[in-house]
């Protein structure tokens, strides 16, 4: 139909070659190094967790799409796979097989589909699943496996837990030579993925930079004995900060729209993370911080609305 090609539609015209689907697969690609590092560090059990979690997410998405009379082909947009992968990355490597299954179902059904599917969810689905598991089965979710080349086979605390702190060198923390969640331990692999996303312009630096910056500054001020004495490099490298800041807080659906909003969002995440880490009863607060800030995104968006061109302020 040649005449259709000449139809003029009102703006905005989509000029970018990126589609939601392409972005999803590029983010998955960027996450792969961290997964490979997780398998290399903890052994094949982490691959098992990842596969179960992804399969669980995909199956629950297909079932729910059918229930809601939507086209099940929507599954091909890769968002369920990405959710499953992120969920697995925030779980310990050794778990009973049913925990990732429950996590996947909760992530997709309670985290995403109940709100109306991709684009309508208020909270990051993977973090909803992870938080559900963390509260429900705290013992399994905090039993960390040591890297397979570690000398003693007794599972240890993550570096952030009080008793485990300071016994790791920065290099160990950077390369992932310590207990932790599958995808969060190897900072090197995460940074490779994050750089890829930044250079392909899929994520902007606003959220990660303000998030990590706030955590480091606050950890430096309040993290040690007395003030301005904290070990901020430790707070950067330990725990899920890098994974959360680059891959979870930047989720398109659940972060603010404007640049100013993004920076407010990142600072809020950072403040809450440090607050939970230093003063809360959990050793790690990244996931709670991001979920909390997800909840206030509509508010942030409302107060950072950009001025419409040509219209005066009041």
């Amino acid at each position: 139909m040649p005449s259709n090609n000449l139809t003029v539609t009102p703006s905005p015209h989509i000029k970018s070659p990126l589609s939601a689907r392409k972005i999803m697969y590029l983010v998955i690609l960027a996450l792969l190094p961290a997964g490979a590092a997780g398998i290399y560090i903890f052994g094949l059990c982490s691959l098992k967790v990842m596969l179960i979690s992804i399969i669980s997410c995909v199956i629950s998405e297909v079932i729910f799409l059918k229930l809601r009379n939507r086209d099940p082909k929507t599954i091909l947009d890769g968002s369920a796979i990405l959710t499953g992968l992120l969920l697995a990355y925030s779980m310990p490597p050794e778990l009973p097989f049913w925990i990732p299954i429950v996590g996947g179902v909760v992530s997709i059904v309670l985290g995403k589909q109940i709100f109306g599917g991709l684009g309508h969810n208020i909270f990051n689905p993977a973090l909803v699943g992870r938080t559900f598991l963390q509260i429900s089965w705290p013992v399994y979710m905090t039993t960390w496996k040591n890297p397979k080349w570690a000398v003693d086979a007794i599972s240890s605390a993550t570096p952030l837990a009080k008793e485990g702190a300071r016994s790791f060198s920065y290099l160990d923390l950077f390369l992932g030579n310590h207990g932790g969640c599958i995808g969060e331990v190897c900072i090197l692999a995460l940074v490779i993925g994050a750089l890829f996303l930044i250079f392909t312009k899929i994520i902007s630096l606003h959220i990660p930079a303000s998030f990590i910056g706030t955590v480091m500054v606050l950890a430096w001020i309040f993290g040690g004995e007395g003030s301005f004495n904290g070990d901020f490099i430790f707070h950067l490298l330990a725990g899920g900060l890098v994974l959360g800041a680059f891959f979870m807080a930047t989720d398109y659906v659940t972060c603010p729209l404007t640049r100013k909003g993004k920076i407010i969002f990142g600072i809020g995440c950072g403040v809450l993370t440090v607050l939970i880490r230093l003063r809360g009863s959990y050793p790690e607060g990244v996931s709670y911080a991001i979920l909390f800030m997800n909840a206030v995104v509509p508010l942030i968006d409302r107060y950072t609305k950009t001025r419409v061109y040509g219209i005066s302020k009041k």
């Binding site: 429950v102 309670l110 109940i114 559900f132 509260i135 429900s136 089965w137 705290p138």
Partner: protein
């Protein structure tokens, strides 16, 4: 008779206080951790509803409009005190686990809502059926919510273990579980009524 049955049915299904009116959510969230607690709370609230509806509707012409709310509160508080003392005497364990939420029935918005919206405008017989219906509806909702929370959060029904190897999800016993269960149930009820 048909009209009276309608008043009864209204409280249980059409205007279920928890799922349709979303009233009395505070005690619902707090006490629905086990079926025993939920049922006890429901019965206590039903008794208060029934009593306050009867007295309010029979005194509706005597109570001056301007100070009706304090009058209702006094009537409701009387029945709450009766319930509280009976519960303390005969069900001390239940009274302990419900704690502050029994005295708080005084400010339960279902009870006050029915007094204000129904009993002060209708006759005694109608008000009895309205109170019964609302009370049964509230009790059923509480039992349903607390059954779900007890099964998933504690692995038990009425304190009995169902499957030994089942590992309960702590979340359902804690506050977020209550909010989740109520939210999902309200969603299901809305979905079903829309059809």
């Amino acid at each position: 008779m048909k009209k009276l049955l309608h008043e009864l049915n209204k409280g249980i299904f059409i205007e279920n206080p928890t799922f349709r009116l979303a009233l009395g959510l505070c005690p619902t969230l707090a006490v629905s951790t086990s079926v025993v607690n939920g049922f006890g709370m429901g019965i206590a609230a039903t008794f208060v509803l029934l009593g306050s509806n009867i007295i309010v509707s029979s005194m509706r012409d005597l109570i001056p409009k301007k100070i009706r709310i304090p009058c209702f509160i006094v009537i409701i508080a009387t029945f709450v005190t009766i319930v509280e003392l009976i519960m303390k005497a005969y069900f001390p364990a239940l009274s302990k686990s419900l704690g502050i939420f029994v005295p708080l029935i005084v400010v339960n918005c279902i009870v006050l809502g029915r007094a204000e919206a129904f009993a002060s405008r209708h006759g005694v017989v109608k008000s009895i059926f309205d109170g019964l219906g609302m009370g049964i509806g509230f009790t059923l909702a509480l039992v349903l919510i607390s059954a779900i929370r007890e099964v998933f959060g504690n692995g038990t029904v009425l304190g009995l273990v169902i499957v030994k190897s089942f590992e309960p999800a702590l979340l359902f016993i804690l506050a977020p579980g209550a909010l989740l269960v109520i939210g999902v149930l309200i969603g299901i009820v809305n979905y079903m009524t829309e059809k």
